[in-house]
Amino acid sequence: MALLDVVGATVKFGGITAVNDATFSVDGGSITGLIGPNGAGKTTLFNVITGLQPATSGRVRFKGRDVTKATVNSRAKMGMARTFQRLEAFGSLTVRENIQAARDIYAGPRGWFSLARDPKIDELIETVGLHRYVDQRADSVPTGVARLLEIARALAIQPDLLLLDEPSSGLDEAETESFGELLVHLASEGRAVLMVEHDMDLVMSVCHLIHVLEFGKVIATGTPDEIRSNKKVQAAYLGFGDDDDMPVPDDIAAEAEAIVGHHVHHIDERPRPGALEFPGAEMQNEITMQIPAVGGER
């Protein structure tokens, strides 16, 4: 049985369907990628899995237990941890204290009065590579470091399933590469990683399985090779059409190129769900307006 099963998850914000009957699963010890255009519902799905967002319908099963109605904290206690696309580091604590706070939560009230030094904290700092920043306030470190901090903090509660929401944004190329190694290392320890990511090189190189989400629906599932050659995915991501008169924004083109393996010059004008047409984005509090939806802006 899979570690995590999402069955028919649907989330509606008013008239907008952010996640539409999404079904997929994540196995223990594997790295699973969750990709899709902006506004496809990836972060909403993360919120449903972790309990921050109740699903309109559908079920979430974790370790064989139905956790659809479980509270956020009880899911975490069962072995689920996540990072956030919009950072949620404890800004006024130092990097070390951030991890320590997570350890405090993990230890529970009995641990709050213990004077013993927790060796796990240094271990995590070492694993994720934060030693240069340990005594800096979390709101003063670069975004990339704060993302790594969130991963260390999530690992502090020793989760079996780690949900990463765009973990590599803010990292440079070298950092991304060592981050990829970290992911492989985590999976080798038997942990499952579910990752929303826009860096397709990273996704294609580390993920064992990829789910592609479009309009809140899982439209494809497969290994990186299968996803690369999947026509539906190409269409979803790029909206190939006949009228090639829209220039492709550079970042989208790069993402697309990583998937289809050749450079993309033009896309069609089919309207795409972007943040502007997607009031649900407000619910997740992510205003993803900086990247125009493919072909969406006229």
Partner: protein
């Protein structure tokens, strides 16, 4: 209809019913007007204006000044109040106090509006001293018309009609005008609205203007019934909080329904429920607060919001040795001070130190935790009641005071702590009123104007009958609690309190059961307040209900913030300041309002930097003698709203 009713009911029953109904509709209409102003302001600016009732009160005084004193005709006077004075007041308020406050942490916004409350009460007391009786006639005096045999005052009819007109006008404003549409959009999503280029400033100004106009209108309509008084009108409008809450602070139609239900229920209670003074005044006056408390219990769980830019003002914590030395120093200073004071001042000093312990309870709750309690005095009163009821010299009195107050605290907190800080603050306010009306005033408790005796504790056979020694004892207790709080602050609990302020969502996804954690913190804070109450009871050796009016919670909160609610030294200073305030108020009665005014202004100025006056003091001393080992505190940094989202998240700004 009337005929069939009379078949069942006697004519005078119908008459009574109609007159209660009309009275209820009158109150309901006035509540509805007040509540819709509150809701409008809250939804568009995210500031819950606790001073809404005080605004009504001051505007009613202004109306009296114009209409009764300056003999300006009714309609002109009302027009002046509603169209000139209230908007001017609102614009000043918006520009200099409220702008941007909705983005600040809830605790800051609440403290600021409590500060405004104190300012308004202060202004009223200063300009319209309580030495003369003031009243405003009903519209058309006592003229009335007959309805099923009941006399219906034209004033009541006018009020109901006005509230219907207000409802219509609000509908037109929100649905038929451009800015109204923008205001409604602001309710749904402020960020998106601003991205579309709507001016948040203009929306905020308009909503404050309309909100204040509605508060003023409610004041003008109610004042003939209540008479001019600083608190009756203020708290009558607090009843509108309940109506607003029924509309979940967003829905105007539900708010109207809530207001009408509340008005009618109150009126029928007055008419049909008879009983002792406790039932008569207690039940009636607690009805709105009871409804508020009840509504809060049924507000659905708020979801953890992700991606909010949370501000934090971390005060650095002194290390163990430094805090121990400071503690010893404080005890020595208090002992020296106590040895020089005369009997009266010794009692006052003891009071001040006890108030300091109350402030310590706020350091934990507000300073560290970021929660606002508007009913801290209730727990103090519970502690004092325990001391009085036990009337024993055993130190167990103090232990029981702590435990019982903590238990009462948990009872208040448990149902509402799943909600946000605003709801907790309102619940504590409602609970404080309920406790005062139904418990503290009850015969088995204090009764009306009864004085209960309390003994001072004795330790190891020493009975502290010498007030100077008792003062030093309180100072020692203060230091012990203070050091205890610092230990908590340095340890896991302090870390988690900050973590919870910075990101509740992250704490949740890491597995923290926030509800129990908060209940624990609130309960410990209540326990400390209870201890303060038991100590305070021992200072004078007697307790009366009048010493613990719930309203006192507000100046205590404000003084804690002014003095510095994030630090132990701030709590000590706050306690002393509160004692001085009481002394000054009894010495210079004319300046009572002025003092409220100063505290209010201080709170508004300092709320955004809760490190308070002690911080200024330390900064000043450090400048003169830089080598002194004084605690350093984090400096607040202004939030830069212009910064792009990514940058802002990385550098959690301080609001």
């Amino acid at each position: 209809m009337a005929a069939s009713s009379t078949a069942v009911w006697a004519a005078e029953d119908v008459e009574a019913f109609v007159s209660y109904t009309v009275g209820g509709l009158f109150f309901g209409a006035a509540y509805a007007i007040a509540a819709s102003g509150l809701v409008l302001t809250y939804t568009t600016t995210r500031v819950f204006n606790l001073a809404h009732g005080a605004t009504s009160m001051v505007m009613a005084f202004v109306y009296w000044q114009l209409h009764v004193q300056a003999k300006i005709p009714t309609l002109l006077a009302i027009a002046l109040v509603l169209l000139v004075i209230a908007p001017l007041y609102a614009l000043m308020l918006e520009r200099f106090v409220m702008r941007g406050l909705g983005e600040a942490p809830v605790s800051v916004a609440l403290v600021v509006t409590v500060g405004l409350f104190m300012i308004l009460v202060g202004v009223a007391q200063q300009f319209w001293p309580a030495d003369t009786y003031r009243s405003v006639d009903y519209f058309f005096g006592y003229n009335s018309f007959s309805l099923f045999g009941a006399h219906v005052r034209y004033h009541y009819l006018i009020t109901v009609v006005v509230s219907a007109v207000v409802a219509g006008a609000l509908y037109v404003l929100l649905n038929r005008t451009r800015i109204g549409t923008a205001m409604r959009a602001a309710v749904d999503n402020r960020e998106l609205l601003e991205l579309f280029g709507a001016s948040a400033g203009r929306i905020s100004m308009l909503s404050w203007v309309v909100g204040s106009q509605l508060a003023a209108l409610a004041g003008v309509l109610l004042v003939s019934y209540t008479g001019l008084d600083y608190f009756t009108l203020t708290f009558l409008v607090v009843a509108s909080f309940a109506a607003a809450m029924l509309g979940r602070l967003t829905s105007l139609p539900l708010t109207y329904i809530g207001a009408m239900v509340l008005g009618l229920a109150g009126s029928y209670c007055r008419g049909y429920i008879h009983g002792g003074p406790l039932v008569q005044t207690g039940l009636q006056s607690s009805l709105p607060t009871f409804m508020l408390f009840l509504t809060l219990l049924f507000v659905p769980q708020v979801r953890l919001r992700v991606g909010q830019v949370k501000g934090i003002l971390a005060a650095n914590v002194p290390n163990r040795s430094r805090s121990a030395i400071s503690g010893l120093g404080l005890i020595v200073v208090c002992a020296l001070a106590a040895s020089t004071l005369n009997a009266t001042n010794l009692l006052r000093f003891g009071e001040g130190l006890s108030y300091g312990v109350i402030m310590l309870s706020l350091v934990l709750l507000t300073g560290y935790g970021g929660y606002v309690s508007l009913g801290q005095m209730t727990f103090v009163c519970v502690g004092a009641a325990v001391a009085a009821k036990m009337d024993s010299t055993s130190p167990l009195v103090l232990i029981y005071a702590i435990l019982i107050a903590a238990a009462v605290g948990a009872i208040v907190a448990l149902p509402v702590l799943r909600l946000t800080g605003l709801y907790l603050a309102l619940a504590t306010l409602a609970f404080a009123q309920l406790m005062d009306n139904l418990v503290f005033k009850a015969d088995w408790m204090f009764g009306f104007g009864v004085t209960l005796h309390a003994k001072r504790v004795s330790l190891f056979g020493y009975d502290f009958s010498d007030t100077a020694a008792y003062d030093v004892f309180i100072a020692v207790v203060f230091v012990i609690i203070g050091l205890g709080l610092l230990v908590l602050r340095r340890g896991a609990i302090g870390r988690l309190l900050i973590a919870l302020r910075d990101s509740p969502a992250a704490c949740g996804t890491l597995g923290l059961n926030q509800r129990w954690f908060r209940v624990g913190v609130f309960s410990v804070s209540a326990g400390i307040a209870g201890l303060a109450g038991a100590l305070l009871a021992g200072v004078h050796r007697y307790v009366t209900e009048a010493d613990y009016v719930p309203l006192q919670s507000l100046p205590i909160l404000l003084l804690a913030v002014v003095a510095g609610v994030t630090s132990i030294s701030g709590a000590w200073l706050g306690g002393m300041m509160y004692m001085l305030l009481l002394v000054l108020q009894t010495t210079y009665k004319g300046a009572a309002g002025f003092l409220f005014l100063i505290i209010g202004v201080g709170a508004i100025l300092l709320a955004r930097d809760p490190n308070g006056l002690v911080n200024f003091f330390y900064r000043g001393v450090r400048r003169v003698v830089p080598s002194l080992p004084l605690p350093r505190r984090g400096q607040p940094v202004a939030v830069d709203v212009e910064r792009p989202v990514e940058a802002q998240v990385a550098g959690h700004g301080v609001a």
